[in-house]
Structures are given as C-alpha cells and as structure tokens.
Symmetry: C2
Subunit: 139 residues, 2 copies
C-alpha cells in the first residue's frame, strides 16, 4: 500500500484529475486509511506535515475524487460525511457506542428487490447499526 508519487499521479491522470501535491497526499491518506475518515480527520492528519493546507482544499479534493468515481461517500449518519476509497461493494456497520465504522461482506449487487422496474440504479449502499463486539465486552 506504499504507492509512489508517480504511481498515484498516474492514477489521478487516468481519471482525468490534474496532479497536485495536495491531491496526492489526500489520495495517499485514503489508500492507507481504509477506516472511512471524515474530512476533518484527513485535514488534521495532513495538516501536521502541511501547515499551509486548508480545509476547503480537502473538501474540494474529495469532491473531485467523488465526481471521478475514485471515492464513495459513506452517509451512514447525517451530520458527518465519511470517505471510502475501496471499490468492491461491501456493507458498513456503525457502532453506536464507540462510533467506529466496520466493513462487512455482503453481496449488495444481488439483493432481490421489487418495485424498481424502469429505474436506472447507479449506486447501492447497505448500512447497519448496532453495537460492536468490543463495546459489548466492555459494556
């Protein structure tokens, strides 16, 4: 998971996104943190090594990644956007005690649905909530 600047730059070029130092760092962060960070977490972490980085750049960058299909938004909660660069379809579980978000395997593309004849589906999300094993043990 340690891609070089050149590789990441090529990845961006493939999706039609111009290279910039900030974008490379955000991309790098997402690829090494698959834990669905918030924009603020990304900003705070990168800010240590890039004091000039601004939060709007983080948002702009994330939005261009989303538009390019590189990143998906995890909208499991309304007041916080979380960003996920993994491509394979999977579900998200949010622990209501500790707030952590876990991935879980689910064959989302083959869920049997009714009432959607004639709909063009572009995006599928499966969200579960509850308590994770760690919190169950500690509770």
């Amino acid at each position: 998971m340690k891609e070089s600047y050149k590789e990441l730059s090529a990845l961006l070029a493939n999706t039609g996104i111009r290279t910039s130092y900030q974008r490379i760092r955000v991309l790098e962060y997402l690829m090494s943190h698959l834990c669905h960070p918030t924009a603020d977490q990304i900003y705070c972490s990168l800010h240590d090594r890039m004091p000039a980085l601004s939060k709007s750049t983080v948002y702009n960058t994330l939005n261009s990644f989303i538009e390019a299909g590189l990143v998906k938004v995890v909208a499991i909660e309304n007041n916080e956007s979380r960003y996920d660069i993994r491509v394979k379809a999977h579900g998200h579980f949010k622990c209501e005690a500790c707030g952590a978000i876990y991935d879980f395997g689910a064959d989302i593309d083959n869920i049997e649905v009714k009432d959607l004849d004639g709909f063009q589906i572009s995006d599928k999300h499966l969200y579960f909530k509850g308590i994770c094993p760690r919190c169950l043990d500690n509770g």
Copy 2:
C-alpha cells in the same frame, strides 16, 4: 389514514410521549406524507395553519419520535435528514435528477452477510441511487 386526535394521542401515550398539539400535528403529517419529508418541509407545511410553530419544536418533536422508535431517519444524503414513519423494512431509492425518494421492496432482514459474528445489529438501511423512470423519460 385520517386518525382522530384521540387515536394519535393514544399512540403517543403508548410510547411514553406526552401529548401536545404540535406533536399530534407532526405525527399526523408523517402518517399522511409517507414521502420522507425533511424537517423543513414538515415545518413549512404545518406553519401555514400554525403560524406560531417554531422549527426547533419540529426538530425536538422528531427527535423524541426517533428516540421512542416511532420514526426512522433516512440518511441517504449527508446534508438533509428525512423522516419516515413506516415500520416495515424497505429500501430507499433517491433519484439524483429530481431528488425524489422512492420506497422499494427488499428483504433487508435476510441479506446474507459475512464478518459480523458477535455484532449486535439494531438497525438496517438499504439505499440506492440513480435516475427514476420519470426523469429518464423527460431526459
């Protein structure tokens, strides 16, 4: 779907919520508008007949309904909470062209999942996005 004040009041009492005129009207609105309204839509609609109604009351009321399990939040988008009083599990489809949210049938409780041994699951949501038939025709 035209419940009386008395019936709605009893419904609230069953869930441990005190009766008030405002709460009855919000509940009534939710029961007659299964289209997943936003807090603002509820507020604007009720405000015509209740000029003194405030938005914080709508939010407070919705939050007490949620806590009581009467209402679920549809978090398909991050910047807007939508409220749904229907109990039976179903999926939500959001049209990215017109913004409408449709219900669709899906056996959410029987989706096959991996990696969740030991997790206590209390809530399941299935969200699809795309273009609805009406917008496909008009586009």
